[in-house]
Symmetry: C2
Subunit: 268 residues, 2 copies
DNA sequence: TTGCTCCTCACGTCACGTGAGGTGGC
DNA sequence: TTGCTCCTCACGTCACGTGAGGTGGC
């Protein structure tokens, strides 16, 4: 009594393309109800439409096939919702990043670059609490945000005394290869650890420093100006970069007043 | 006097990865100022940073490399802005589509499907003004919007008398292969043509018809219900589908009241 | 019988990323 | 001299799309 549909018919019922249906079969995401042994013809049932509709929507939102499969086979409704929610959230931060790049592009096309005002500084050894992880460049913003949230939580709950601005450490490979282990840290008088927050003594190092004013999506401009200046006036050193987040008002809607000290490693 | 930078140094200055810089060189998007003949070492100049910054931003917005190249080599500032603006606009409609799919997913997960109320109808030959073009499925919404804008413009300027609801014709391959020549048309008493708007006599055809209530992103649900019903009660016919846009209030923010007649070709 | 649908490979797409294997400069 | 940076292939990624070449059902 359950009618069977050929792949073409099921495509018209589900609005998934025939090629997509075959692909989903190949990778085991969505299997036909029956496959004819001799001809290989796929047959689908009307009851499979509800799954097909979910798949079509999740794929339209660019959820990776592996995650779609997880959603379809999740043991509980709660886990299903959690997986979908996580994807929607990652889409949100992607959208936020896009908005910032658009603004950054506009500013680049309309406002001339301010020349870098470069100073030279040896930053002494610093006791701190830190979060350290391998991160892809594209995820930097959301990773840093979460890392500092965790750091402030520990600083607050343990009553630690902050002794300097929050900062980050970025190996050269983070820029040249787009992925590396980076560090977010906050200098403190007495260190502590909790969860992924650990103690870290940041070693003394010498830098050429320029202050970047504006959103983080424009940081490359300051790197360009500073690095060019360094090439002409200092001896560059193979060591991680450092960024000190001097002024990042909590009202993060307007990033135009953000001040960041970009620290380029040089020979002391 | 113009300092030269190795690819790694230029990567740190521009925040483009070394791999990306090599790739841009390979495809001719962005060439080093010099290439050492014997070692193949690439050398870049500080003056190339401004182009690199544009490239980085446009690529971060997923503009295809070919278009980025066009922007960089556009003869005039106006053409540059036009190409960028066109890309931002396509990102906007992409975002709109995403929002609709998210809403559609939510409704699918929370609201049960209403059973289809199917009728049987022979639609007589209809004189109309039409726009016809090969379209990819993903571009449907914005294409239809533009097509009807053009149609209403012609109807208005020529003072044509509308004799039925706006409608569309979609070959089966548009669904099963994701791309086909589709038609948007408006029935009129006397036809006319202008620009890409042409006259079209839509031939008589017999359909099983169901009324879809709600946004277009949920149309697949009605196709599934209608098609299942047709399989059990009619003889499906190989012919294009038709959609009659009965009620699509101009205030397009709330699509929940949209009414669309989905017409499934059957043997008369 | 014709034409339509379906099948299975194998390869293409797009913008790089990932090694492998090797060379050059300080 | 060591280790770092650079080089060039060749192949992988991801989710299908594009044919080619062939078969099956009405």
């Amino acid at each position: 009594m359950t009618a069977l549909f050929s792949i073409g018919e099921f495509s018209r019922l589900s609005h998934l393309t025939v090629k997509a249906l075959r692909h989903y079969h190949d990778v085991g995401l969505f299997e036909p109800a029956e496959v004819d042994a001799s001809s290989g013809y796929r047959q689908y049932e009307a009851t499979q439409l509800s799954q097909a509709r979910i798949i079509r929507r999740l794929r339209a939102l660019d959820m990776p096939i592996e995650q779609v499969q997880y959603v379809l086979t999740a043991p509980s409704e709660a886990e299903k919702q959690l997986a979908i929610g996580a994807h929607l959230k990652s889409m949100e931060s992607e959208l936020q990043r896009t908005r910032e790049v658009v603004a950054s592009l506009r500013s680049l096309l309309t406002e001339p670059l301010q020349p870098a005002d470069v100073t030279y500084r040896t930053i002494p050894e610093t006791r701190s609490v830190a979060v350290r992880e391998r991160v892809e460049r594209i995820d930097t913003a959301s990773w840093i945000q979460q890392a500092f949230a965790d750091l402030w939580a520990v600083i607050g709950s343990k009553g630690l005394e902050q002794t300097g601005p929050p900062a980050g450490i970025f190996p050269s490979a983070f820029i040249t290869e787009g992925e590396a282990e980076i560090v977010a840290f906050v200098p403190v008088a007495t260190a502590a650890h909790s969860g992924r927050v650990s103690e870290l003594v940041v070693p003394e190092a010498t830098f050429a420093v320029a202050t970047h004013t504006g959103p983080f999506s424009n940081l490359d401009c300051s790197y360009g100006l500073l690095g060019t200046y360094v090439a002409e006036n200092f001896v560059s050193r193979t060591a991680p970069f450092r960024e000190d987040y001097i002024d990042t008002p909590a009202d993060s809607e307007d990033q135009s007043a953000f001040r960041t000290e970009v620290c380029w490693p040089v020979v002391g």
